[in-house]
């Protein structure tokens, strides 16, 4: 879907979320902790939200939200972000986009 692809390939860290999703909130907290401010797109506030949900699922996400893209590439959902972080791979990935130095 064009809209999702377009938004996902924006520079930096992109998070597809829903305003009611508390797990998405947890992801933003983690990113904040790492000095990164993601661009958040709340798909439940978007008129094309349903389409976007389906498109995100098609990209291989188990649940449509949270879906994290860094530098245009899909990292995954909370599972993938946590695995990456624990293996030490998340911080190097986010380094170019850190706005606050911890």
């Amino acid at each position: 879907m064009d809209k999702v692809t377009r938004l996902a390939s924006e520079k930096g860290v992109v998070l597809f979320s829903k305003s009611s999703c508390c797990l998405c909130y947890a992801v933003t907290i983690l990113f904040q902790e790492l000095g990164v401010t993601p661009t958040i797109h709340e798909i439940d506030q978007d008129p094309e939200g349903r389409e976007m949900e389906k498109a995100l699922m098609r990209l291989g996400c188990n649940a449509p939200v949270p879906a994290i893209f860094v530098g245009g590439r899909l990292v995954g959902s909370m599972n993938e972000v946590m695995s990456l972080h624990l293996s030490g791979g998340l911080v190097p990935l986010l380094k170019p986009y850190q706005t606050v130095l911890n």
Partner: protein
């Protein structure tokens, strides 16, 4: 010409047939819930409304169609009209379905609360009659069997784990080869992964059961964080047991601990947000009108997220274990697993000791 009007009639009966058929199906589903008394009046109400509405609709349609019959009926118009009638019927059907589902939700809520009261009274020995077989308590029955299966599985899991601890202990004291030790470490790790799978399964049945940690001893529950241990806490306890570590290993473990704490922090704050959301939803109306209100069903939708949090916490535990196995040598990993197993056994011993120690009189 006869058949244009008969075509009209059949399309109308088609339009009105479908909603009734659907109601029939919903009625069937509803009957499977144990208490027929609640359902009967609901179904009668809705079906009555439905029949009254559809009768007036079909009368109106028949009246207008006989006027237009006389024109040289253009097939295009006929098709358009039929499509419009179908759309109208479908729209009405959707509205009726919505109202039906809403009533269904409310009745289901009443039913669950009645079942719980019944269960409570039975436990208190107040309900003597044996008429209600727990197998037929549809909703809570399935949950109970999921929990019973888990508790049985956990008992076996514990026995196996205790056996593995003994094996590790004797293996580390004897001088067995790294290869043999590796096998013990691998089976120890997969044993923990098996527990996470079991927890994930029972969380689907009853997430509150997992959150409560009921299957664990009291001292273990004291340290509970989202249905289990906090991985960074365990790292703090166990790493000193694995000395000596190389400088690189110390650095790696330190980074792992920090990443773990950050992830835990994010999940904790997400949980807090979830609590706020559920609380706000429950009390989002002007209260004082009783408890059988949509707010409760709405809050339940929000609560579904709790399953995801429990799964994420277990995923974090699993990843921590996995990363440690990459950082440590086989021997170190074996010592770590032994220490972890023994630590939990000590917590369990603490619980037993506490339960049995004489208390000062009040």
């Amino acid at each position: 010409m006869d058949f244009p009007s008969t075509q009209f009639v059949s399309s109308q009966t088609m339009a009105t047939y479908e909603p009734i058929h659907q109601i029939g199906m919903w009625g069937e589903n509803f009957k499977s819930i144990s208490n027929p008394n609640i359902s009967a009046s609901v179904i009668v109400d809705v079906v009555n409304k439905l029949e009254n509405e559809s009768e007036t609709t079909s009368h109106e349609m028949l009246a207008s169609s006989s006027k237009h019959d006389q024109e040289a009926s253009k097939p295009f118009d006929k098709i358009q009209r039929r499509l419009a009638q179908n759309r109208e019927a479908a729209r009405k059907s959707r509205l009726r379905k919505k109202a039906y589902v809403q009533q269904l939700e409310n009745s289901r809520l009443k039913l669950i609360q009645l079942e719980q009261e019944l269960e409570r009274s039975r436990q208190q020995g107040l309900y003597v009659g044996g008429g209600l077989d727990t197998g037929h308590l549809g909703i809570s029955g399935a949950v109970n069997s999921g929990i019973a299966a888990f508790e049985l599985g956990y008992e076996r899991w514990m026995e196996e784990r205790n056996k593995q601890i003994c094996e590790l202990r004797s293996a580390l004291n004897a001088q067995i080869s790294d290869i043999e030790l590796r096998i013990l470490v691998e089976s120890g790790m997969s044993h923990y992964f098996e527990l996470f799978r079991m927890k994930s399964s029972v969380a689907k049945a009853d997430v509150f059961y997992v959150m409560s940690g009921k299957w664990k001893t009291s001292a273990e529950r004291f340290f509970s964080w989202i249905g289990g241990f906090r991985p960074s806490e365990l790292l703090k306890v166990l790493v000193p047991q694995i000395d000596p570590l190389t400088d690189q290993q110390i650095l790696d473990v330190c980074n792992l601990k920090q990443s773990c704490q950050q992830a835990e922090d994010a999940l904790s704050q997400g949980m807090e947000k979830l609590r706020e959301t559920v609380s706000a939803t429950l009390a989002s109306d002007q209260m004082g009108q009783g408890i059988y209100v949509p707010q409760v069903a709405m809050a339940m939708e929000k609560l579904e997220a709790l399953v995801r949090f429990v799964n994420q916490a277990d995923h974090l535990r699993q990843q921590t274990l996995q990363q440690m196995s990459y950082i440590l040598t086989t021997r170190q990993a074996a010592r770590g697993l032994l220490a972890l197993g023994e630590y939990i056994q000590r917590l369990q011993a603490l619980s037993t000791l506490w339960a049995n120690h004489p208390r000062k009189p009040a």
